[in-house]
Amino acid sequence: MLGVAVIILLILTIYPLLFSLFLSFHKWSLTKPGPWRFVGLKNYLSIIQNPVFWRIILNTFIFTFSAVTLQFAAGLGLALLFSREIKGESVLRSLLVLPMMIPPILVGLLWLFMYKKDFGIINNMLKLLRIEPITWLSKPLTAMPAVIIADTWQWTPFMFLLLLAGLRSLPQEIYESSQIDGASFWQTFRYVTLPLLKPVISIAIIIRFMDAFRVFDKIFQLTGGGPGVSTETISLYIYRNGFRYFNMGYASALSYFALIIIIAFSMIYVRVLRRVGER
């Protein structure tokens, strides 16, 4: 039973991994027919020496950190608003979480439309506040925040749902006793709620971190990585080298750099999961 699943996944995941590894030591272009040429570590070396690569790594981390932080803050705020049962909650909650189920590529499309300079709704709203129209996606200074906002719109509901589930599972007696002890709202939050929520918080943050790190669709649609490389993240960079420049060896070597970072994350995640599982 398990065997079939393992074999299918082996073919679909281990094969690409091994083939990428093989390609990463070769020079091979999809467009030019002919055999691959062994180049040793040349692809890896030229990646490290390329300043663009380091810029892309920096972009990826800026995007990931800011997006996840914003989503966590907004999600926690929302979850606290809902921490007491309110009327019509289930309807409200299912409306609030809609953004996270929409295809990321469409989230990109929706926001691209809203970010347009002249007829975009955002600039027209800002006009009411007497703010001049901004070309959100074509200036390096605003493009990255714009992309982060679109991602935050989509994924805040995820944080909200998880944190709310965590909040609801906390034992009520602790709150009663802390109230009797005269703890203020802030003290209860800081010394009771947060520590108890820690397992859920860590799972939520790591899952979002790993997903934000591999972001592709949304940025691809919004800016395509531009202007310049100011919003280009590691996934877009791999795509550009593989499918625009058809430089398969180079793109494969890049994938391996990404893989190393991802493996580090997933090891942390596995450790957290196991620790939570033991409780």
């Binding site: 398990l2 699943a5 393992v6 998880l162 899952i207 790993m210 791999i238 994938s255």
Partner: protein, 276 residues
């Protein structure tokens, strides 16, 4: 004191209202745009009140872009990937939930890790593989590649559902002479029907939402709706009416499924790590 409490209450509902508006506005705006005329779509300042027309929908159905066909492709592909994921995934999940063998957790976590790879890194070698088998631009290619997303998901979530079934029932059946397969087919599967439905719906959504694999592995025959929705970029400006119309059509089934899945969203999106 009373005034203070009322104020807090007002602020509280105001907060929820703002959150709701922020969450729903982009979706509603796209839906509204899909019913506008060409002129109204690009109007500055934007038009809030207008007579809804179906021009954009007519355009994507009958003009150059045969959107219904791409929707059908999406449906075929996500159904295929879901069927594979449920069949293979539930068997594997059952093995992981009930059997004891060495390296079990490692296999489970390896499956999880397949989900963390950047999509372009995965699709690159798969493109070469599919080209080798002459499967480019076929439904099969996308069904198989989408299973990379759906199988690990199904394994992890179904495992959680199987583990919730009391072992006693299965042991009783075993004592009564039921085979392992019999137990699986006649007891475990029927008992976990809600789990199966939830898992399939999630797999459908993931596959339906997928973009990059479809972009790279298809061109015309097997193109999916998500890829088609991005192709309204014109020479000067995107045809926003048709783009929003196709986005609306893609979103509707997802919105319905989200409402159905409500209770299981946390569990699904964390692959069972948080039961919610």
């Amino acid at each position: 004191m009373n005034i203070f409490r009322t104020l807090v209450k007002i602020l509280y509902y105001f907060g929820i209202a703002v959150a709701l508006a922020l969450a729903l506005f982009p979706i509603c705006w796209a839906i509204a745009t899909s019913f506008k005329s060409k002129v109204d779509v690009l109007a500055t300042p934007p038009v809030w009140i207008f007579r809804p027309i179906l021009d954009s929908y007519r355009y994507i159905t009958f003009a150059r872009i045969a959107f219904p066909r791409y929707l059908l492709n999406s449906l075929i592909i996500s159904s295929g990937a879901t069927i594979i994921a449920i069949t293979v995934g539930s068997l594997a999940a059952y093995a992981l939930a009930r059997y004891r063998f060495r390296g079990k957790e490692n296999i489970a976590f390896w499956m999880l890790s397949t989900r963390m790879m950047p999509a372009p890194a995965v699709v690159l070698p798969l493109y070469v593989l599919m080209r080798g088998f002459r499967l480019i631009d076929t439904h099969l290619a996308l069904i198989l590649t989408n299973s990379i997303i759906t199988i690990p998901f199904a394994v992890w979530v179904m495992r959680g559902f199987f583990e919730e079934i009391p072992v006693d029932i299965e042991e009783a059946a075993l004592v009564d002479g039921c085979s392992r397969w019999g137990i699986f087919l006649r007891i475990v599967l029927p008992l976990s029907r809600p789990g199966l439905i939830v898992t399939s719906l999630f797999c459908m959504v993931f596959s339906w939402n997928e973009f990059l694999f479809a972009l790279v592995l298809t061109s015309t025959k097997a193109k999916t709706a998500t890829v088609a929705a991005t192709e309204f970029r014109g020479w000067m400006e995107t045809a926003w009416g048709p783009a929003c119309a196709s986005a609306t059509i893609i979103m509707i089934p997802i919105l319905v499924i989200t409402l159905i899945l409500q209770k299981y969203l946390v569990r699904g999106l964390t692959m069972g790590a948080v039961k919610g």
